[in-house]
Subunit: 294 residues, 2 copies
């Protein structure tokens, strides 16, 4: 059994880049041949046609980036918006990622209490459940105990990413004008330290934004045992230099997500898979250098 | 067009009780004939059989409580745990509730930013989407802007319930040891006030626990324009007296949820629908009296 944090470390070392490719199916930006399969269709039949196309698109992206990306991050909301057929596409995506040995960050930002949190954990992480993802993003507002069912899975091979400092402008209003983010960070680090793997990092990660570089070093110091999942690089305005303080000296400790920056170019791509591959390689090269892995 | 808050007010007045029946399909507690349809079956086929039984069970519960409950609250996690077939059952439940004119509180505790939050809003609330629920519970940690796509729907006929003070013991660690809950409460009340209906309450509600009666009057005073969705009554230990300070003088302003207390008795019920109905009527009677509606 390989702990989640060590599996990530091995993937980052093997790809020599901390790149996480976000799988956000913005429908109007899918390749033209995919869009043609659902545009103009509505209702349940339209959602089914859309979900089938989204599933095919996502599998193509996964196969294209499988040896460039350290992990992939499907954004659950886009699949849920398509109803049950969208969930079928999400299940297919996660199963294909597992076959490709690509660790999955299920970006679901779940959070609830007691038996409800347990049900979310079964649905997202358990190998006998519908998805069996490697890790999931979690919203912590309900309190430490709301994360316990997920922590129980972290004692095995699974991982979590707790929202600490997010990349949106309004995040500051509650997260950093008040001392709540620091409190959550301390808790997250302690839980990860308890479960740290050979790489010195544990399976309880933190979401820390790339868009607030002035805080980056402080978050690294506050959570020395945590992998960071870092949104905001690329399309959201964070640059590679902004994320440098989020890495440990050995280049591990931060997984930098890029969704639109890898998935979608300025216009339609004649060779979609080739263009995705080229954008993923460019991001991996830039991030690998900043992390000191290349 | 009836604003969500006014529709709720009309339902509470018509049923003379502020009862919200939570639809939490705890599989091991379903009636024996329902359990027999899936027990011992595993994997995808097992999830499909389970989801079919859960869907039938939920529809039976809805039809049983349709004239006793002011609203129903499906707990999304239990449906998600069954994968895509579970989502089919959830879609069926919501559509049946709409046919029965029962307002739906989709207990999903979603929260994300930008286009992702928009996708969650489409998936949960939009009438052209897969569910078209009347309202949804939201986790606020990402900041005010994360709630904007949902607020846009509140300008129409939809409603939201923002986590402010939850019922779990650990909630205090971040919600009330720190000033974050007060800050969120002030924001939630202002947004609801802007959109207040004829009843003086708006569509932006707050989740406020029944389990902290010492705080109840303060939350009522802090959010005069908000409906409260109140977990913790019954199975979680909150009594009817504990929720009294959460109502306005006219008996409106709080929707008290009971899930297990209505759905499940001490043992198997010989007449399941009859037993659900009797428990719902008893809860409605107790809550209607405390609210001054009976």
């Amino acid at each position: 059994m390989t702990p989640f944090a060590d599996r990530l470390a091995a993937r980052v070392r093997a790809t020599r880049a901390p790149l996480c490719v976000g799988i956000d199916p913005h429908l109007h930006r899918l390749p033209a041949d995919m869009r043609a399969r659902f545009e103009g269709r509505e209702g349940r039949a339209g959602r089914e046609a859309t979900a089938m196309a989204v599933g095919d698109w996502a599998v193509q992206v996964l196969e294209t980036v499988a040896d460039v990306a350290a992990a992939v991050k499907p954004q659950v909301a886009f699949f849920e918006a398509l109803g049950a057929p969208g969930v079928v596409a999400l299940e297919r995506l996660v199963h294909v990622a597992r076959d490709l040995d690509l660790p999955v960050v299920l970006d679901a930002k779940r959070g609830d209490i007691g038996s409800t949190a347990e049900a979310y954990a079964v649905g997202a992480l358990d190998d006998h459940g519908p998805l069996g993802a490697d890790s999931i993003t979690l919203a912590p507002y309900l309190g430490p105990e709301s994360l316990q069912p997920f922590l129980a899975r972290c004692d095995g091979e699974k991982g979590v990413w707790v929202l600490v400092r997010t990349s949106n402008p309004g995040a500051a209003v509650w997260q950093t004008e008040l001392p709540v983010a620091e409190r959550i960070a301390a808790w997250v680090d302690a839980e990860s330290a308890k479960r740290a793997g050979a790489c010195g990092l544990g399976p309880v990660g933190a979401v820390v934004a790339a868009t607030v570089p002035a805080e980056a070093a402080a978050w690294r110091a506050a959570m020395p045992h945590c992998w960071f999942l870092v949104p905001g690089y690329g399309a959201q305005g964070g640059g590679a230099e902004d994320v440098r303080p989020l890495f440990r000296e050995d280049g591990l400790g931060a997984l930098i997500n890029s969704s639109r920056g890898v998935l979608f170019g300025a216009g339609d791509d004649d060779d979609y898979a080739g263009a995705v591959r080229a954008r993923a390689e460019a991001a991996a090269e830039e991030l690998g250098r900043v992390a000191g892995l290349r």
